[in-house]
Symmetry: C2
Subunit: 145 residues, 2 copies
């Protein structure tokens, strides 16, 4: 089976070697093998774990809780339910995140439309801070429907 140096893994995962060593130091990368010269050799399973780690991290699970998940994994079958719960919780979190991003997309689209219209108008000082915020104020406090 292929193995990978820390530099290879850094490139593959889009992180720095510092980050990978930091993760190992924090117990987030268990059992990374080292060759006779003491250099780390990452297995494909290690990369698979990094992939899950990245997924959990980028959906907002703190490193501390990722470590907790890892400890559950070590304990085998009896922690299955708790481990599945973690993923179910992340799934819910993810759904909220996607909705929040969509809401933000609407706000950003409102802003872009406002700027486009203002540029079209060519009106002077339409875009002073006051006018700009007044449009937002109305959007929030005087919604049309």
């Amino acid at each position: 089976m292929n193995t990978y140096s820390i530099g290879d893994v850094a490139k593959l995962m889009g992180v720095t070697t510092y980050t990978l060593r930091y993760y190992e130091k924090e117990g987030l990368l268990p059992n990374i093998r080292k060759n006779s010269a003491g250099l780390r050799r990452f297995s494909e399973q290690d990369l698979a774990w990094l992939n899950i780690l990245e997924c959990l991290k980028s959906t907002g699970l703190p490193l501390k809780e990722i470590k907790h998940y890892l400890e559950l994994s070590k304990d085998g079958d009896k922690t299955v339910k708790e481990r599945m719960e973690i993923f179910l919780t992340q799934k819910k979190r993810l759904e909220r995140q996607i909705q929040a991003l969509k809401d933000n997309m609407e706000k950003i689209n409102f802003k872009i439309k406002y700027y486009e219209a203002a540029i079209q108008d060519g009106e002077k000082n339409v875009l002073s801070k006051h006018r700009d915020l007044e449009a937002e104020r109305k959007r929030l406090f005087e919604p049309k429907k």
Copy 2:
């Protein structure tokens, strides 16, 4: 027009009063009025701005760049294009974020399915760390199609 105390605003925005004062100190809340006793009174426009601030922040724009946007706003018409660019950039970022979250949703669903199947099986030690990661390794390195 209604005004709001710092505590009111904190509740409305779901942040602490510490955070609001911190934002003001950092120049992210310009021109907050104070009453004769020196207490902050937030206007609806201030809330409108906080709403935009929250939108930019939660889509990953650092506070430093949010401050920059604010400074552009103060300079009026001549910064319109740059300001619109900021929102267009955030829109692109947001599209990537939504896609990334959807990708993560797939990974999480894979995990959940794996755990469900393993629980059904009732097989002992199916869920040891090794087996668990082996499934991930195959997903990554031996995709079916």
